[in-house]
Symmetry: D2
C-alpha cells in the first residue's frame, strides 16, 4: 500500500471547463483531492458568466481567480506568485488544443481530456510545444490508471504471454441509443461536429479503446480497416465503430466502440492473446484480471501488492477485496503527476502526448478507411509521404 | 417438459465415419440414444478395415452391416427390408458432399456434419438433390439445438429488441495454438486442405458462428470484409478469422473465429443489439440467456418452460437449475428429425440445406475478401452474375 | 475421454415407479441409455393400472413385463432366463425400503432414490441385507457423479487443502415457496408425511447436501445443531433447514437447505476451506471448480482430462468447454454400476449403503436437535447406547 | 448525480489514532476529503511521540495541534475558536469507548470505528451520553454507505419481497489463516484481548455482518445460537464464527464470519429471501444488486439514479458502469454527517448508537451461546431481567 512520504505542500490546480452540469470536471476534482496532493485555486469553468461564478462559489474559488476564459486564466495566474501550476482542461473537444497549447507555452503543467485535439496536425503541433516546454503534459486516458491494467501491461512486457497474436478491445455504451433530450448538455455537444470534431463515438470512447489496446499490448496499430455508422438516423457523427486492426508487432485485432449498445453501461474490455497465455480485463469489474495460460486453469488476479509487478503498488490504496473504482484510477494519474513534479521522474505508463498523437492518427485513419469502403489504411505515413502533405 | 407421446418404434440409423478415435461420431450416437428414438443398425465407420470392424463390434453393429464405404452401405441397406432409414455423415469435410448426395439420391434421410460441402457449387447441387428428394436433410449446426438459442431467436422475431443494430459473434478455442501431435487424428485432418477444404478455422467453427448469427438475428449476411491468417507459422489453412459483417436487414456486425486463442476452450458467444434491448448468450454457460433492455436492469433468463416461447419446451428434459449441455442440444436435432419423420412436420428452426448453402457462400466470400485486402464481398450474387460464372 | 472397451451386451433394467407424470424416473431412463450399457425390459411404473400400462407402452416394455407392483415384478423377472438384473427404485420415499430390501433378497442389483429409507432402523436393516447379498446397491446421490465433484474429493484426499477447517454447504430451491397446485404430483407427495416420511425438505434435498459435504470433505459429520421450520404456514413437514455441523476430522460447518428460497432454482453449492486453500463448486455451473490457494490467485478448473485426477476421466464424454450437465452426472452412476458389474470392481466413489445409513442418521439427528432447541446431537451413538435402543 | 449545493465552509476534523502503519485511519481521511466537506486540523495519531509527530507532518497538521492523547486533544481543540468540530476515532477497540464518551461530553460530533465498545454496559452508557448530547454520533458501519445496500433496504421496506423468511449473511477473509508476523500491527492488536476485547473475528467483522443483516432486512435479531472457534491453534480469541439467527419479524437466518477462510479476501455478502422475491449483494462486486423474483428471471440492478429509491442518489458520484468502491461508500457516511450538520437532518440510514448497542448485544449473546453449547440466547433482555443485572 502506498506509504506517504512527507508532503510539503500541494500543487496549485486551475480548471478550464467543468462548470455546473458538466460531468468530467467533477471527476477531475475528486481525483485531484483524493490523495491530498492538489488544491483548486482558480478556474474558467464556463463561458456563461453566471454559471462560471456560481461554479467558483461552490468550489471555494475566489471571484478574482474565476476567469472569463482560458486566456485570461493563464495570464492572471502567470502573474501571481501563488499562481496555479497545473491546468486541467475539461472542456468540449474543440477547445482542448488551443487551451493546452497556450497552457504549455505559458509554462504550466497540463492535464487534458481526450481526444487531445481535433486533427493530426494539431496533435503534432502540440507535441512540438510539449517537447519545447519544461512542463509535463498528461492526457486523461484514465483507464490506464487502474492498477490491474498496468499489471497486464507489465506481464506482457515481461513475456508472460509469449508472442502476441490477437488483441480484442471494445468500449460499448447504451446512453446514446436514442436522440438525447435537448437539455442533456453532455450528449448535445458530443453529437455536434463543431464542438466534438469529425469523430463522434470514435473520438469520445473509441480512442480510449485504441489507447488501451496499445497501452497493454505494447504494440502500436499500424493499419486499420473500419466502418463507421450512425445507427440512430439523422446523426451527423458516428455512434458505432467497427474495425479490424493490424499491429506493428504482428498481432491482429478487432475494435468495437458503440454508444448505441442497448443494455451496456460503460463496458470497456480487452483481451490480449499470446502464444502461451492470454489476459482479459473489463472496466466494470476492474478489481480482477484474468490470466489464462494455454492448457491450464484460468487464474483470477486481484489488486494485491504481493503479486503485482513492482511499482504498481503506488496507485493502490486498499487491500485486496476492498473495491477500488473509477475515481481511484483517475486519481492515479493526478498522483503520478504530483509525484513526478516532486521527484522529477514521471512514470513511463503515464499517458501523454504520444498517446494523443497516435489517438488522432487512429481517428483520422479510421475515418479515411470508412470513407474508402473499409480499405486498410496506415496510421503512420513514411517521412516522405508526410512531407508530401498527403491528407489522411 | 417433454411429454412422451407413444413411440411405436425407433428410426434405424446408419453412420458414415465415427470410428474409434473420432470425436463427433460418438456425440451423434449419444445424442441419438438420449431420447430413445433411434437405433444404430449399420455403419461404414472407418476406411481402415480393422478399425471399422472393431468399431462395429463395440457398437453392437453386426459384421454384415459393417460396410467398407458409404457406397456399399447405401447399397446394402437399401436392399434390406429392415434397412437403415437415416444416414449420419460424420467424416472429415471432403466426404460430406458425395456421401450426402448419394444418401439423398438413394432415399435416405441425412444428418450431416458441417461444413456441408467443400464449395458453393457442391452446396447448390446438394440443395437441388434435397429439393428433389422426399427425405429430410439435417445439417448439424448443433448450437441451434440449445433451447435458449431458440428462445433468443423467437424473442427477436417477436420484436422484443426492436430494429436490430449490431450483431457480435465469436467462436474461439485454444486447441490449435501449437502444432498438433502427429497422432492427433482430429487435429491432423482439420489442418490438411485435402480433407478440410480451403477453409481451416473458418470452415470448422467460423461457419458455426456465422450460422448462429443468422439463426438468432433472423437477418442474412449480405457482405463480408475479412482477414484470415495462420497465426501458427507454416499452416496451409487459416487458424484465425476476423470479419466485419453487413446484414440484409441493416444490422452491422463482427465475427471472430480462432483456434489459437490461448485460454479459451469452446467459447462460442453472441450478442445481438437492437434499438430497444439486447440479448447475450454464451455456449459455455448455455443455461442462461441475458435480456438487457435499454435503460433497465438486465435479466437472466434460464431454461424454464414457464417463460420460454411456445414450442421450445420440446427440447427441454429437466426443470430450470438442472443443467443441460452439449449432448442435450445435439439430441434436440435428432429428436426433431424423428418427430418430424413421424408427424410429417419438421420444425422451422431445424438447420438444413439453406444453412449449408449460406455457410458455403460465407466461406467463399470470406476467403475472397481476405485475398482482396479485406474488400467488402457480397455473399449472394445476382442471378445474372451467377450465370456468368464468376468465381467467388 | 472414455474409450469404450468392447460391450458384449447391455444389462437388463427394470423400474419400480417412474410412470407418466413423474420426474426422476425419466431421468434414470435417459441416464441409463446415454452410454448404451442398459436396456429397460420390465417395470411396475404406477399403482394405477391404466397409467402403468400406458407408461410401459410408451417405453417399449411389453405388457407381460409390466407388473402391478414391485413384488410381482421381482417374482416375474426372477423366473425368467432373460430376466432383469438391475432394479431401479424411483418411487416416493416410503417404498424405497421395502422395494430395495426385497430386490436385494431376490438377487438383483439395486439403484435406489434417496432418502434411502424412512428411519435409521430401516437403513441399518437394509445395510445388513446388502452385506449378505452378492449384488451391488447404488444410492442415487447423483451429484457425486459430476467429474469436478469427484476431482474436488481427490484434491482434498491428496492434501491439497491441508487440514480442513470449514465446510459450508447449501441446497436451495424456490419451487415450494407457495402451496402447490393439487395436481402437482411431485410436490404433493413430498409434503405428505405418509409418503415422504418425517423429513420434508431435509429428506428431499438436505440429505443431498449432507452427502456432498461428507463425500467431498472425506470427513463425517459427528454432531448437528439444527433448526427446521415450515416457512409456508400449515405445512406438516419442514421446508427450510438450517444447521451447524461438527465433523469427526475437526472441521466445522454449516448447512442450509430450503425449498422456499424465492429466486433460486436448484442451487446446490459447497465450499471447503482448509489451512492452505479452499474449493468451491456449484451445481448450476457444474463445469467449473474453483481452487483458491491462500494468498494466491484463484484458479478456475474445468472438466479437462489433462489436469483431473487419474480415473475421473471415466465419466467424461466431451472435451472442456463442451458443457456436460445433470443427465451426464446421473449417467456416471449407471455407467459405474455397469462397468463394476462387468469387472467386479466398483469405484470407491459410487454412493451406496453407507451414504444411506449416514443420511438417515443425519435426518434423525437433525430432527431431534430441532425438537430439543437446537441442542448439539450426535449422529453416531456408541455401541452400548445403540444396544440400549434409545431412539434418536 | 449529486448536485453540489453551495458549500460555505468545511467541517474541521480531528483524528484519534490512524498514525503511520495503520490502515483504517487513512481510509477515513480519503473518505473525508473526497467530497470536500472536511479539513483535517488536529490529531492524536499515535501514543508513540515520534510516530505521532511524523504522522502529523505528513498530513499537514501543525505541531501545536498534534496531541499526546485524546484527552489533550479534546481539551486543546475545545479551547480554540477554530477548534475541531468532529472527532474521528480510529484506534484499536479498547479506546473507542473512553474516547467517544469524552468527545461527546466535550461537545464534539463523533465518527467512531466498530465495535463501538468492549461491552454492552459501555455501549449503553455511551448511548446515554449521546442522547444527552446535542452532537451526532456516527458508527463506521461503512458497508451501509454503498448505494445498492441502501436501495436493498428500501426495496424491503417497501414490501418488494413480501414477508421475509430467510436472511443469510457472511463475512469471510483469509488474512488471519496463519499466525501473523510480529510486525503486522493491524493483525497483532486484533488478536490481543487487551486491545480487541472478548471478541476476535466476531468483533472485527462479525459485527459488520450482523449490522448489515439488520440494516437491510429491517428486522432485529432476537436470539442467536452460535459456535465460536479458534481455527488456528493457540489463539486467545475466535477467528471463526458460525451462528443461527432468529429475527423479531419472524425471519430465520445464518451468519458466518471467518478470518481463516483461505482464498477469500473481503467477502461480505448477504441474501434476504422473502415470500415473493429475494435480494443478493456482495461487497466485492458492490455495483450490482440482484433482485430475484419468485418464478421470474433474476434482475441485475446497478447503481443508477433512474431506478434507485428516492434519496439514495445523494451518495452517487458517477453514472452506472463507472465503478464506485469502498472509499466512496465510506465517504457517504462522512458526506451524510456534513450535510446533516448543515441542514440539521441526518438521514435515517446513517449508522449510529443504536447499531452499536445492538452490535454489542450480539457479541455478548454470541459469546454466551457458544459457551453454553450453542444454546439459543436472547439479545435483548426484558427490563426486569436487565435490572436484575444478570450477566449476558
Amino acid at each position: 500500500m502506498t506509504t506517504n512520504s512527507n508532503t510539503p505542500r500541494k500543487l496549485r490546480l486551475a480548471m478550464v471547463g467543468g462548470g455546473q452540469g458538466a460531468f468530467i470536471g467533477g471527476v477531475h476534482r475528486m481525483a485531484a483531492r483524493l490523495d491530498d496532493r492538489f488544491e483548486l485555486v482558480a478556474g474558467a469553468f464556463s463561458s456563461q458568466t453566471e454559471r462560471n461564478l456560481a461554479s467558483a462559489g461552490e468550489l471555494g474559488v475566489s471571484e478574482q481567480r474565476c476567469y472569463a476564459d482560458y486566456a485570461a486564466l493563464l495570464a492572471g495566474e502567470a502573474a501571481r506568485e501563488d499562481g496555479a501550476e497545473v491546468i486541467a482542461i475539461v472542456t468540449p473537444n474543440h477547445l482542448h488544443y488551443p487551451a493546452a497549447l497556450a497552457s504549455l507555452e505559458a509554462g504550466f503543467h497540463v492535464v487534458c481530456e481526450k481526444p487531445m485535439t481535433l486533427s493530426v496536425e494539431e496533435a503534432e503541433q502540440l507535441a512540438q510545444a510539449a517537447e519545447q516546454s519544461a512542463r509535463h503534459f498528461v492526457l486523461m486516458h484514465n483507464y490506464a490508471g487502474y492498477p490491474l491494467v498496468q499489471h497486464a501491461r507489465e506481464l506482457i512486457a515481461e513475456g508472460a504471454l509469449g508472442q502476441l497474436r490477437h488483441v480484442q478491445v471494445e468500449y460499448i455504451q447504451e446512453w446514446l441509443s436514442e436522440p438525447p433530450e435537448a437539455d442533456n448538455r453532455q450528449a448535445v455537444w458530443r453529437l455536434d461536429p463543431a464542438q466534438a470534431g469529425a469523430a463522434g463515438c470514435l473520438g469520445d470512447i473509441g480512442v480510449h479503446a485504441f489507447q488501451l489496446a496499445q497501452f497493454i499490448s505494447g504494440q502500436r496499430v499500424s493499419e486499420v480497416s473500419a466502418e463507421l455508422v450512425a445507427a440512430v438516423p439523422g446523426r451527423a457523427l458516428d455512434d458505432n465503430v467497427q474495425a479490424l486492426l493490424r499491429f506493428d508487432g504482428g498481432a491482429r485485432g478487432m475494435l468495437w466502440a458503440s454508444q448505441t449498445a442497448a443494455g451496456y453501461e460503460n463496458a470497456l474490455s480487452i483481451r490480449v492473446i499470446g502464444e502461451k497465455a492470454s489476459l482479459q480485463w473489463a472496466q466494470e469489474q476492474p478489481n480482477e484480471l484474468w490470466f489464462k495460460p494455454l492448457n491450464g486453469p484460468s487464474q483470477r488476479l486481484t489488486r494485491r501488492n504481493d503479486w503485482l509487478s513492482e511499482g504498481i503498488g503506488q496507485g493502490i490504496r486498499l487491500p485486496g477485496g476492498h473495491p477500488e473504482g473509477y475515481i481511484e484510477a483517475f486519481a492515479n494519474l493526478y498522483q503520478a503527476l504530483a509525484d513526478g513534479h516532486r521527484s522529477g521522474e514521471y512514470p513511463v505508463w503515464l499517458p501523454g502526448i504520444d498517446d494523443g498523437v497516435d489517438g488522432m492518427r487512429f481517428i483520422a485513419a479510421a475515418i479515411a478507411s470508412s470513407q474508402a469502403a473499409s480499405a486498410w489504411t496506415p496510421l503512420h505515413l513514411s517521412e516522405t509521404e508526410h512531407i508530401a502533405g498527403d491528407a489522411l
